[in-house]
Amino acid sequence: MSGQILSKSSGFFDDYIHKPGEDKSSTHYCPGCGHGILHKLIAEALVDNDATEKAVFVSPVGCSVFAYYYFNAGNFQAAHGRAPAVATGIKRSLPDSVVISYQGDGDLAAIGGNEILHAANRGEAISVFFVNNGIYGMTGGQMAPTTLVGTKTTTTPYGRTLRNEGYPIQMAEIIASLKAPVYVERVMMADTKSINAARKAVRKAIKNQVEKKGFSFVEILSTCPTGWKMTPVQSQEWLISTYQEHFPLGVLKDISDQVEPLNLDHNYAELSQVPTLIDLPKENFEVHKENIPDVVDEEIIVAGFGGQGVLTLGVWLSEMGMREDLNVSWIPSYGPEMRGGTANCNVKMSTKRIGAPVIAHPTVLIVMNKPSLDKYGETLVENGIMLYDSSLMGDDLERTDIVKIPVPATKIANELGNTRISNVIFLGVLTGLSDFLDESVVRNTLPMIFKKRHLLDINLKAFERGLEISRAYKK
């Protein structure tokens, strides 16, 4: 045991400043809960490996959701079960950090079963601590995938049965069966001997990461006295007498001494290379920055039915925005109406960084069928622009505070000989009307989209027709 005085590890905050309320010195865990013991082992191991400064904790959903109150380390709060994916992102962008994915059995083995398998299979160089306490603690004692057959929980009031819920899942064995993980061990926190073994395992999992050895996984059999309706002492006795029989302790895999340290250096494209990589060469044409306002913050919804090129128009708009050096986002919006054959997408174009890609109140609305007009007409901001296909619908939207532009797109497209080009007509109108789309950028981009001569010709014609329509309206 280290040192001459065993006291609160410096891996913890002196005062739990992030914890709400008066009490900044004790944890939120129930008396006797195993989470606290594991926290102490991890904090100590981080300090002993000189890793507190570079440690990033990924807290799960579950009772340990508040781990960030305690650890004097970086912290990310992941959605339920997603800690290994979040940890992957952190580790890959900060290869020198020590990333800890701390998860319960509801989190890791139920909702997050998929995430952990793939993170392990990719051999992410992280340390995973998997708290197997056989129950959902936080939500009040529901069955976990690890709950033993016969155990009564709030969701298995007659006891877990094989017929209904299947076998308790043995995560450590599953992880150890994969090729990539370097270290997999199952330990327990039930008495002096087992806690000491757990301490060693935690230390090793962190040391492995410091030494860039690869994916380490420690499953820890732990108590939930509250969920189990036992005293803390009884809970530990039950771990020893019953639980461990179903989850055999020991090292399931350890090749950490045989593997070379991983090269975790970035091997990703530089941001400046991206346009070339996705075939967006900028040097082909000039962008007239003076034509684009200093501040752009547009939220565009394009809506219609499948086949009208609604989603594609959104993609083009974002592509053009990128060429103008704007920040852009594009998401197709999947609602139940997808089944009815309608489609829509949200496009943001901004000089600011974009947070959420979802749009509640568009500044520009392009509606290509009546249901879309009904659905989005009212959401448009005041003074927003609405382009609608006047060959398919009338203007029965009772709003006078917006700019309505009728575009007989389908009719013109038919005249030109291809119904599918109506989206380019809308593009033309929007380019003519808006200040954030530079006409020369759009013109120069179209040949890259329509690589076949005959397609380009007809689409350029459609674009011109759109521009013409816009001329009737002032910018």
Partner: protein, 122 residues
């Protein structure tokens, strides 16, 4: 009474009375007090003598700051001459850095952070 090679201090306000330390202590010198802390838990207490400084209770306890175990107590005591003979009970730890010790002369504050810098020979 055996010589106390170690000493265990309970931070009563961080203890939740779970009894894991009491159960774990190999020499049975910890018990649950009849006194309540601010949270309403009966906290753990040290009998004041017999601790070997093994640290088992420290790792059994789920609360990061509830217990402090001093291993080489004789040495620590010598360095802290203010702590008289064996009457050092109860030593209350306020946080990781500050503690209150009682001697025959009354209560006094102990700077625990300094303990970490002491060098002992085993």
């Amino acid at each position: 009474m055996a010589k106390s090679r170690g000493f265990v201090a309970v931070n009563t306000e961080e203890c939740k009375g779970c009894k894991l330390c009491v159960d774990a202590c190999p020499v049975d010198v910890l018990s649950i007090s009849s006194l309540f802390n601010v949270h309403g838990y009966n906290h753990a207490e040290y009998e004041g003598q017999g601790c070997t400084g093994c640290g088992v209770c420290f790792y059994a306890c789920p609360e990061p700051g509830a217990l402090v175990v001093f291993k080489n107590w004789e040495k620590v005591r010598m360095n802290y001459h203010v702590i008289e003979k064996d009457i050092v009970i109860p030593l209350q730890i306020k946080d990781a850095k500050k503690g209150i010790a009682m001697s025959e002369d009354g209560a006094f504050e102990v700077d625990l952070s300094q303990f970490k810098n002491l060098h002992f020979t085993e």
